[in-house]
């Protein structure tokens, strides 16, 4: 009786041979392996061989791809392990089953329809679109050479075509992602909080983690403790954290207030002062607060200002014009936040508003041709992102929220990326990784592709 062996042992055995040999194995439709009944060889082995040959091929073909995917998606895999979902090995790769030989069909009847022998040859001529306008390029952060202490700077904008329409005109910059950091413990969804549990009390450590562990391009520091309804930290004291964070990380910073209309101008002014030369972004100037004071602070200390309006293209024009004309901000120092609503909670309004703003900018409206930023973290406000299960009777159960939350942030961000957003403020490291991967692919930075794109048609999963 033959020795029983597992699939893993079988793989081990085959590893002794080189890949060419395995690739050379032809699996015929009538593949037959002599197996005596009771020989102890698992009947699945035949299938396994077929799969194996395919598996080796796949490894060769996507070697590079796997490398990238693993980097970006490690989080997801850890997640699935934590949830007790098995990592399938090669066994779950799409399998090319040995195809039963298809018998030649000999037509017995005269065909009922007249079928031409040849295709009518036609040429696809893509319709060309060109825009007269260009979105302004805005650089955040300043290195020593420019009077700052940043090791990297970030440039956004510069588009001449719609987002990822590089076939119309190559857009020079890929959108970037900032991670939110708060100067006091904020309310966070569990799925987000668990990634920052150890740094919630320390904004500098938090910023480090965001950059080093999670790959944030920038950090947004929200000085929410200045809120009169919270600690009401005086502006001069609150901005000490700005200095700490500037020390802790070498990427450009965005500084936000608490959203309090009366206090934010003072807080942002102080922040602008302590960060002089660093070319931070002040978040944000709005129509219903003292935008002039915030704008002046940006101008005086050489920073960028975020022009934030509530989903209204005309208000956006108005505020931009105030900042340009009345304050005299340079055109390369304005970024717009036209407001982000979460998937399912007004995303359609946010998407269309941003898409219209971008198209207007490209068509030559110089009040609107600035890069856009999105507070994508808003996605976590959607109950689908955090609630344990549906409160609605009759709903199909929602499944584990650990998986729903990140995807809610991803889809909100992706949709707005397609509307033209240049900078995302996000929180979940897995969401950030997936967004980056996808944007790099659409921008042509990640090239590694899959060749056998027909295989899903016959794969056995």
């Amino acid at each position: 009786m033959a020795k029983k062996f597992t699939l893993d042992e079988f793989f081990e055995t085959l590893k002794k041979y080189n890949v060419e040999e395995i690739e050379g194995v032809r699996i015929e439709g009538d593949l037959e392996i002599e197996i005596e009944p009771g020989s102890g060889i698992d009947a699945n082995l035949i299938g396994a061989i077929a799969m194996l040959s395919n598996y080796m091929q796949l490894i060769q073909e996507f070697g590079n791809f796997i490398y990238h995917t693993n980097m970006a998606l490690t989080y997801l895999q850890r997640l699935s392990q934590a949830l007790g979902i098995q990592m399938p090995a090669g066994m779950q790769m799409p399998s090319a089953q040995p195809a039963p030989a298809v018998q030649e069909v000999t037509p017995v009847e005269v065909p009922k329809f007249k079928i031409p022998e040849k295709l009518i040859s036609a040429k696809f001529e893509p319709y060309k679109v060109e825009y007269p306008g260009t979105i302004e390029e805005v650089t955040l952060g300043a290195t020593r050479a420019d009077g700052g202490t940043r090791e990297v700077t970030i440039t956004i904008g510069g588009e001449k075509s719609l987002a990822f329409y590089n076939f119309d005109a190559q857009n020079p910059n890929i959108p970037v992602i900032a991670i939110d950091v708060f100067d006091r413990k904020p309310m966070l969804a569990k799925a987000v909080r668990e990634h920052y549990e150890d740094v919630l009390e320390d904004p500098a450590e938090w910023a480090k983690k965001a950059v080093k562990d999670f790959g944030a391009d920038l950090v947004t520091l929200h000085l929410i403790s200045t809120d009169p309804l919270l600690e009401d930290t005086p502006a001069s004291e609150a901005v000490k954290v700005v200095e700490d964070v500037l020390q802790a990380v070498k990427v450009p910073l965005i500084i936000g207030g608490s959203g309090n209309k009366e206090k934010d101008p003072e807080v942002l002014e102080k922040a602008a002062e302590v960060a002089e030369g660093e070319r931070i972004m002040l978040a944000s100037a709005t129509l219903d607060m003292d935008w002039e004071r915030i704008g002046n602070a940006a101008k005086k200390y050489g920073h960028v200002v975020l022009s934030w309006t509530q989903m209204d293209i005309n208000n956006q024009k108005t505020l931009n014009r105030y900042l340009l004309k009345r304050v005299g901000i340079d055109r390369n120092s304005i970024v717009m936040d036209p407001t982000t609503a979460a998937l399912g909670y007004g995303l359609d309004y946010a998407f269309t508003n941003m898409e219209r703003i971008r198209i207007s900018g490209l068509r030559g409206d110089t009040d609107l041709n600035f890069p856009m930023s999105s507070g994508t973290t808003n996605a976590w406000g959607a109950r689908e992102a955090w609630m344990k299960d549906s409160p609605i009777e009759g709903d199909t159960p929602w499944g584990p929220r650990e998986l729903r939350g990140p995807i809610w942030e991803i889809v909100t961000g992706m949709t707005l990326a397609l509307a033209g957003v240049d900078m995302f403020m996000m929180m979940h490291p897995g969401a950030l990784a997936v967004m980056k991967e996808w944007m790099k692919m659409l921008s042509g930075v990640i090239e590694e592709s899959i060749e056998n794109v027909d295989d899903w048609i016959t794969m056995e999963v």
Binding site: L119, P391, T396, T415, M459
Partner: protein, 472 residues
Amino acid sequence: MKVKSPLEVYKYLPQTNCGECGYDTCMSFAAQIIDRNVKPTDCPPLVENAKKDKKFEKKLNELITLTSPEIAEVIIGSGESAVKIGGEDVLHRHELTFFNPPAFFFDVHDNMDEALIDERCSRVVEYRKFYVGDFITLEGIAVRCVSNDPEKFRKVAKKVAEYGKPMILISLNPDCMRAALEEVADQKPLMYAATEQNWRKFLELALEFKVPVTIRSRDLDILKSIAKTFKENGVSEIVLDPVTEPVGKGLRETFERVVQIRRTGILGEDKDISYPIMITPISAWLIDGDDITRGYWETVIASTFITKYADIMIFRNLEQYTVMPSVVLRYNIYTDPRTPVQVEPGLREINNPSPDDPVFITTNFALTYYTVESDLSSSNIKCWLLVLDTEGLGVEVSVAGGQFTAAKVKDLIQETGIEQKVNHKFLVIPGLAARLQGAIEDETGWTVLVGPMDSGRIKGWLEQQWPPESGE
């Protein structure tokens, strides 16, 4: 649609203002045609005249051509569950609206256990996601032929057909396709797919069984050539699959192909490729990684192309982390931006309230209303909810814009007869409407309590504030 103004349509109408169409004037009917709410054939005199007179028939056909959507419409399935795809007129939703949301199909295959096929089909049939007052459902089932065995495929297609959902039959082998069509052609499944290799056989099948067909090619010249050949040989129910490549350069090129096809169809007026577009998020299952990684990537592909021009999609993952974001995004993108989404104003009874329970008021903006309503229901709060007609605007905007006023609140209280249903006169208004507190009290004589800014906090608020101190 070739015409942009009602005047251009009006020229073709009888101009008698007979009202048979249901609109007072021919001009308003013309405006409805432009908005795609009605079709030329909804004008009875126009149709009658065309029957009698060749000249009128020609005119009607001209109008139909002028007003038909830029992208062809294709119907998959039969009866009530049939789904219409395509029919788009614009590249950006703010230019008009998108019309037919991409139809979602989920796969089974013919080497699957019967029990698993049943389970997957049932999940598709039973899927429900409550959103803006209704349940979102899934459209259909895609049956893949993995066995390459016509008889096996026939059997499984027949079995799946019993679920009554629209179907896509997937096999590049015309013999397998024929076997399945012999069983289920009357349900008008979509064939997948004709290629450069098999197109002659698939053209024959499309003509013989009168079912819609998908054409698959990465090469857009070939895609167009096959589509043109099919069209000129009498097949017009066509779906284009420019091949979904899941990652890297392939994904980027897929994006380019899809955008180019749709843009060249609508702006370039190339009728040979003005058909619905197929995207296959299921291609994500070709990448390396575990099921969750692939499920996530399926959503990434789906989201990309829900936003950009897909009309029909094939998925594999039925887990909510893939399905829910996809159905909600689809709903959002295909919401008509011309009309704010609103609900009926009036009085709602939440959790069988008694006369002692509180009275809340909110707006008839659907998103606001359903958020409030579901917060109250899910927290088991017994209450009366007044829904004010704010013309579909949210609280903050309608307070500022004058659609949420004390006078309208007074009218609503009278119309609904809420005074007779409760034994108190306390009205809780949204935190965002706080500034109306005094005005509403003066106008109605009720005592107005200002509730929280977010309806999610009503439960905690009630614990502190209800029942209110009486005898003031």
